[in-house]
Amino acid sequence: MEIVVCVKPVPDAETRLRVAPDGTTLDIEAVKFVLTGYDESAVEQALLLKEATPGSKVHVVSAGPPPRAEEALRASLALGCDLATWVETPPGVSPDPLSAARALARAISTIPHDLVLCGKNAGDDEAGVVAGALAELLGVPDHSAVLDLRWDAASSRLRFQRSTEAGMEKWEAPLPCVVALQQAWNDPRTAKLPAILKSRRSPIAKVASEPIASTAGTTRPTKFELPPPRTGAKLIEFKTPEEAAQKLVKVLKEEAKVFP
C-alpha cells in the first residue's frame, strides 16, 4: 500500500507565545516547532499500517516555510517514514489552510498514493480544513475524526471507527481516500538516536509552491490577542470536610455569586 501522510509543524505547547508587533502573526523568533499531536497520531497510524501490510511505503509530505517544515519532515523520517516531499513556501507564516491543501494536492498527485492520512486538524489554528479540501482536490472521498484504522486485505477495505457526538461509528471504506485522524488513540513512538542521525542525511524531494497570492479563496488572520492573564486561585484552609464545604459555599455565594 502506498501511504501518504501529511504533517504540519506547530508551536510547541510548552513555548511561551508572543504576538508579533504587526498584531496579525506570532513572534516565531523563540518558538520551537514540533509535529502537531494529530499529525503524530497520523504518522504512527501510517507506520502501523505499513508494518501490518508487507510491501507498503510511507511518504511524508509537508507544505510550509523553512526551516520548520523541513524539520517536521526529518522528524517523520526519523520515526520510520520512507520518503519525504517538501512543498517549500516563503519564509515566515505557514500557508493558510486552503493554500496548504492546494500545495499538498499538487505534490501528492505526482506521487503514488492509495491512502492519504492527515491529522484531523492542526494544534495551532484548529481549522480542520486541509483533509476535506485535499480529498476534494484529489477527487477521492474523505473520512474524518477516525480512530483505530486497520486494513482488511481479504476484503480490500479499510476498517475504522469514527468518534461522533452520537457515539462511536464503525465504518469500512475502499481505497483510495483521505483519512483525517483523531489524536492519540495510539501511543506515538519515539524516534531512536541512530534513526535521528540517519534522517539528517536522508534526501527530501522539494516541490516549488505556487505563489500564495495567486490562489483564490485564501484567508488571513486580522488580529491576534493573548488571552487575559488568569487571576489567582483561592485556597480554602480547613480542618474538617464540613468546614471546607461551608467555606466553599460561602465563597460561591458571596464572592463568585454562582448561587443567589
Binding site: P67, E71, R74, A75, A78, T190, A191, K192, L193, P194, I196, L197, S199, R200
Partner: protein, 382 residues
C-alpha cells in the same frame, strides 16, 4: 569565530534526551532514590532508543556520537535523574578502553554484543587501598603460559551488580609500579569472579555499585587490551575522554536545582510578597545562574576541543572540577531557597545535593583534578 549555536541535528538529539529524561526517568527518580532501586526497565528503554552506547561507533551498532553531542545528551539525562545517568555513563566509561586499545578483532567481538542486546559493562580500576593512585595497585596478573591469572579486589565499581563484562586493570609487574599496569576484559561468567552486595550510597541510588573479587581468574592473552604495561596510560586516556561528560552530568543536576529554586521562589510568599522579590533570594538565584552557565560553557569548550582532536586534559579537568563544585553549591543554595521544605525528602532538592556530591569524587576526585590543572598550567610557565 567560535559558534555557540547548535545544529538542527544537535537540537534533535538534545530533544530526544530531554524527552526521555522528563517522561521516562524523572517520574521514577524519587522512588528509585528512596528505595535504592536499579530501574532496569528504564535502562532497557534507553538501550532501545540508542541512549546507552553513546560513544560506540555506528560500525559496531552504537550511536557514534562525538564528545560534544554526548555531553549535550548527558546534561539532559542528568536533569531527569543523576543516578540513572551514572548507569549510562559508567557503561560508556567501561567500553571506552576497548574503543581506544582494542584490536579490530576485539572491538568486533566485544562491542557488537552490547549494541545488539541490552547488557552493561563495568570499569574496574579503583581498589580498596586507593583509587587515585594506580601505581600502588594490588590486583595482580600472573602470566601462566598464554594466559594471565588475575587476583585482587576492586571497589566502588559502578554497574558491577548487573555487568556482563568487566574491564579490569591489574599489575603484571608490581616492581614497575604504574608501568606494570595492564588492562584486561573479564566476562562476569569467568571462574573466580564474584560480585559483592550492592553498596548503600548517599546519592545516585538508582545506579548500582559493588565490590568485585577476582580469585585466580584465568584470562586468555586475547582478552588483554593493549600491550603489557600500557594499562595506566590507557586508563588515563580513557578518563581524558570521559571526564568531560561528568561536567555535563553535574551541569544537568545544577540546572535542575536552579529551575526548582526559581519556580519555587515565584510561588512562595513571605512578608506579603513572593520570595523572588526579596534581594536575598534574587542574589542567590543570580549566583546560581552564573554557576550553571559557566559550568555548561566550560563543558562545551572542553568537549569541542577534544572533538577537534586535542587532548584537552587541562580544559576537561577544569570543566569537571568546576561543574561538579558548581552543582554542589547550586543544589545547596536551592535547598536554602526552599528553607525547611528543602530539607524534606518530600521535595526534590535535597536529592540533588546528594547526587551532586558524587560528581566531586568519582572519575578523579576534584583534588586530583586540581593537581592536574596546576601541573598543566605550570607547564606553560616553566
Amino acid at each position: 569565530m567560535p559558534d555557540f549555536s547548535l545544529t538542527p541535528e544537535q537540537e534533535s538529539l538534545r530533544d530526544l534526551a530531554r524527552k526521555f529524561a522528563r517522561t521516562e526517568m524523572a517520574p521514577h527518580a524519587a522512588e528509585c532514590d528512596r528505595v535504592s532501586r536499579f530501574p532496569e526497565e528504564i535502562y532497557r528503554k534507553a538501550f532501545d532508543l540508542g541512549l546507552l552506547n553513546l560513544n560506540v561507533p555506528a560500525e559496531y551498532g552504537g550511536s557514534g556520537l562525538g564528545l560534544f553531542d554526548q555531553c549535550l545528551m548527558v546534561e539532559e539525562l542528568a536533569y531527569g535523574c543523576g543516578g540513572m545517568t551514572t548507569t549510562v555513563i559508567a557503561h560508556c566509561l567501561a567500553v571506552e578502553p576497548i574503543l581506544l586499545a582494542g584490536t579490530p578483532e576485539q572491538k568486533e567481538r566485544l562491542l557488537k554484543p552490547f549494541c545488539a542486546e541490552y547488557h552493561l559493562a563495568s570499569f574496574a580500576l579503583t581498589e580498596p587501598s586507593g583509587g587515585s593512585d594506580p601505581g600502588s595497585m594490588r590486583t595482580l596478573a600472573r602470566k601462566e603460559g598464554d594466559d594471565y591469572v588475575l587476583s585482587g579486589e576492586k571497589c566502588f565499581i559502578s554497574n558491577a551488580p548487573q555487568a556482563s563484562l568487566f574491564v579490569v586493570f591489574a599489575n603484571t609487574d608490581p616492581s614497575l609500579r604504574h608501568k606494570g599496569v595492564t588492562a584486561f576484559v573479564v566476562p562476569r561468567s569467568a571462574k573466580g569472579v564474584s560480585v559483592g552486595p550492592d553498596d548503600e550510597k548517599m546519592g545516585h541510588r538508582a545506579s548500582s555499585t559493588a565490590t568485585i573479587r577476582l580469585d585466580d581468574v584465568r584470562v586468555p592473552a586475547s582478552d588483554r587490551l593493549g600491550a603489557e604495561g600500557t594499562g595506566f596510560s590507557l586508563a588515563m586516556r580513557t578518563l581524558d575522554q570521559t571526564r568531560t561528560p561528568i561536567g555535563a552530568l553535574a551541569t544537568g543536576i545544577a540546572q535542575a536545582a536552579l529551575d526548582h529554586a526559581a519556580s519555587y521562589s515565584l510561588k512562595r510568599e513571605t512578608f506579603g510578597k513572593p520570595i523572588s522579590e526579596h534581594q536575598a533570594i534574587q542574589i542567590k538565584l543570580a549566583n546560581m545562574a552564573q554557576a550553571v552557565h559557566a559550568a555548561r560553557l566550560l563543558t562545551w569548550h572542553a568537549a569541542w576541543l577534544i572533538d577537534r582532536g586535542q587532548k584537552g586534559t587541562l580544559e576537561s579537568s577544569i570543566a569537571k572540577c568546576f561543574a561538579s563544585d558548581a552543582a554542589f553549591d547550586v543544589a545547596d543554595e536551592a535547598i536554602q531557597t526552599f528553607g525547611g521544605y528543602g530539607y524534606m525528602r518530600e521535595y526534590p532538592v535535597e536529592k540533588l545535593l546528594r547526587d551532586a556530591k558524587l560528581t566531586q569524587i568519582y572519575e578523579g576526585a576534584n583534588e586530583i583534578q586540581r593537581i592536574v590543572i596546576a601541573r598543566e598550567l605550570l607547564r606553560g610557565y616553566g
